[in-house]
Symmetry: C2
Subunit: 406 residues, 2 copies
């Protein structure tokens, strides 16, 4: 007879997991990347070279670099951030993490207690919002418009909270290729955010995971690069620019913060092979790889926007992204995307319902997010067509698809 | 002026980290392994092969295997456990973790709330004890003798707790090459532990991290292999058998437990390159590699026991290990190894004071642990000599070293 573990589990656990059932046929969720774009050969060669030089260091925890991660990779990240995000960074202020997800957990672990308050964008990364809820934290949201988080709105929220005697633990922002809106915050807004953060004495938590994937032009200077007093905690990742399965992200913070986050990383470090491979690969290949990747993604994005226009017509409203791997779409008010996602899932189409990407779930109930990084052009076209059909079957819209009455 | 983060940190954070200062000259702490024993070339080749086949899967989270980790590696772990630990295992009941450390955190996260009680061995892994304290958990300890955890002692503790109406959340044991005592539990004791666990309805958490490193003979059957009702949660690792910097460990548990642990692994998975490299490397190389490694470690252990005998004589009591990477040493009662560790550290010799490896820190105050896996034979000899000198300088013992009066 099977032992009953039920009385042994904590009361506050998330629901039980289901066994893995494979990826859906039309997979438009998750930060997956273009499969052909993974630089398999160059990464393999880079690792072989690094192994020849440093392979014996695998025998030690931390590879002679301490708990913050392989020093050659931290040096390389510092160079990338300085060159691309205008952000002079000491490798001593970088912590290598298991993707940016662990970065979020570590920063939250250092700063947040149940009952605390943070400020978020009104549409934001679902994984960040769900983590805040799991921490028992209250969040106040600030409207995102075509230029990213609205600074007048931020000023109002900061003022209101101050009036209530509440000092928020941080302002969480994704300034470049905001998730899910795809917006990019101007330099002026970034400066204003910093000014407000200083005025109210509130830290900023800058999530810059998509910044390398702008179709055109240079990455904007990060907010942290404009900050001179260590008020901004920054996180980034190689998941979107190289490959998510590498699980290599990073947190950048001045030492007074880093020294408190570091003891919470209790897993003995991140994978050495990825750290070695990236440290060897990036100096020669990163910029060129990213240039190629963003063209690939731009092409997939165009296929998806064309498919949306063709299949959904005026029923689907969205701004064409200027970078990234996702599109944020608004449907008519009476379409419930929670239900749409559920029905679509049963038919092999995976989408992110807007409620999960919205600070106020109700306000996102007729919105959804589609990711286009991994799907092939054909999968994008077929999947959007199937989704339109499903949506029509459930909600009666869109009425026409591909110029044909449904 | 630097922003003051002090009021933003949680009250219950561990002390701030110090910047990394490099490894000490004589490093006898930590689970580091033999540097020349790392199969650098074979791992590199294995990864190249796996990359050629599966490299494009790096583009997806989970590499088409879901949150539990790369299926070929889970299959390979199942084969190793069946062949070596007598433990038939379904890959669906394996979760790949960032070393066994993350395994401890996940199991604790699923089961332990502040105020809970667990049962531990009276000397045990410092990282497990410190985690329990950090969880706010009370632990009761059971004496370890030359045959591992004493079952009469366990029966007494279980009975006492039952009398107090307390059902412990688990019994934590390291049955094979117990850390730090180096003892190996007999099959009879394993069976008795299972019987007691059943009788009292208490789960067992079996930590089998060192089991591949017995100098002679086969690994004993794991406790989990003898359990038929899913009462044992098991963890293992490649850190000791291959290399710690790979950060690949695993938890094995029946699905009712696995399904509750899995949602707590919120970091998007472990490093793909290590998982691919190990899955490719192990089927052909694991057994041969481990055979070679344990001979290497046995040789280093002999060097260390000889150095201890020469430098400490009768002052240092210990049982010669039958496997593993550490020796557990008892000094005269009036030697305070917390102080010894502190003074030695300043002189380049790192040791684990016994207080950190003891459920009751006071009872371990005259004991310490020395690791011999990473140090060269010369470093072992010189380091033990220096440690004896430091010990003599502080505590007046040992009186003689290398047949010379001090």
């Amino acid at each position: 007879m099977s032992f009953d573990f039920t009385p042994f589990f904590r009361d506050d656990l998330p629901p039980a997991a289901n066994p893995w059932g494979g990826f859906p046929e039309f997979n438009f969720v998750g930060g997956h990347n273009d499969a052909d774009g993974v630089p398999v050969e160059a990464l393999t060669e880079a690792l072989a070279k690094a192994m020849q030089r440093d392979g014996k260091q695998l025998a030690t925890y931390g590879m002679n670099s301490g708990a913050q991660g392989y020093l050659p990779l931290r040096t390389c990240i510092a160079q990338i951030l300085e060159a691309r995000a205008g952000m002079a960074t000491d490798p001593a202020n970088i912590l290598i993490t298991t993707g940016s997800l662990q970065g979020l957990d570590l920063v939250n672990g250092a700063l947040l207690s149940p009952g605390d308050t943070v400020i978020v964008e009104d549409v934001s990364y679902g994984g960040a919002l769900s983590r805040l809820r799991r921490c028992g934290v209250d969040y106040k949201s600030v409207k995102v418009d075509a230029g990213g988080m609205c600074m007048d709105g931020l000023a109002t929220v900061l003022g209101d909270l101050q009036g209530q005697g509440i000092r928020p633990k941080y302002i969480y922002t994704i300034p470049t290729v905001q998730n899910p809106s795809g917006t990019v915050m101007s330099r002026e807004r970034r400066q204003r955010m910093l000014d407000l953060a200083r005025q109210y004495g509130v830290p900023i938590f800058e999530d810059d995971c998509y910044a390398d994937l702008l179709w055109e032009g240079d990455r904007p200077a990060s907010i942290r690069s404009m900050d001179e007093n260590g008020q901004v905690i920054y996180c980034g990742t190689f998941s979107k620019s190289i490959a998510p399965a590498l699980r290599i992200g990073y947190v950048v913070a001045d030492w007074p913060v880093m020294s408190r986050i570091l003891p919470l990383k209790s897993d003995g470090g991140c994978g050495a092979l990825e750290q070695m491979a990236l440290a060897e690969y990036c100096p020669d290949h990163f910029a060129g790889h990213v240039d190629k990747l963003r063209q690939t993604l731009k092409g997939k994005c165009e296929t998806m926007t064309a498919a949306l226009a063709e299949q959904f017509g005026a029923t689907a409203e969205f701004s064409a992204p200027v970078g990234g791997i996702f599109i944020w779409i608004t449907l008519p008010d009476d379409v419930d995307t929670d239900r749409l996602a559920q029905v679509a899932s049963a038919q092999g189409v995976a989408i992110n319902p807007g409620s999960e990407w919205s600070a106020d779930p109700d306000s996102g109930r007729h919105r959804f997010r589609l990711c286009f990084g991994h799907a092939t052009h054909q999968v994008i076209r077929d999947g959007v067509a199937r989704l339109a059909e499903i949506c029509h079957g459930e909600f009666g819209v869109p009425l026409r698809g591909a110029n044909v009455e449904r």
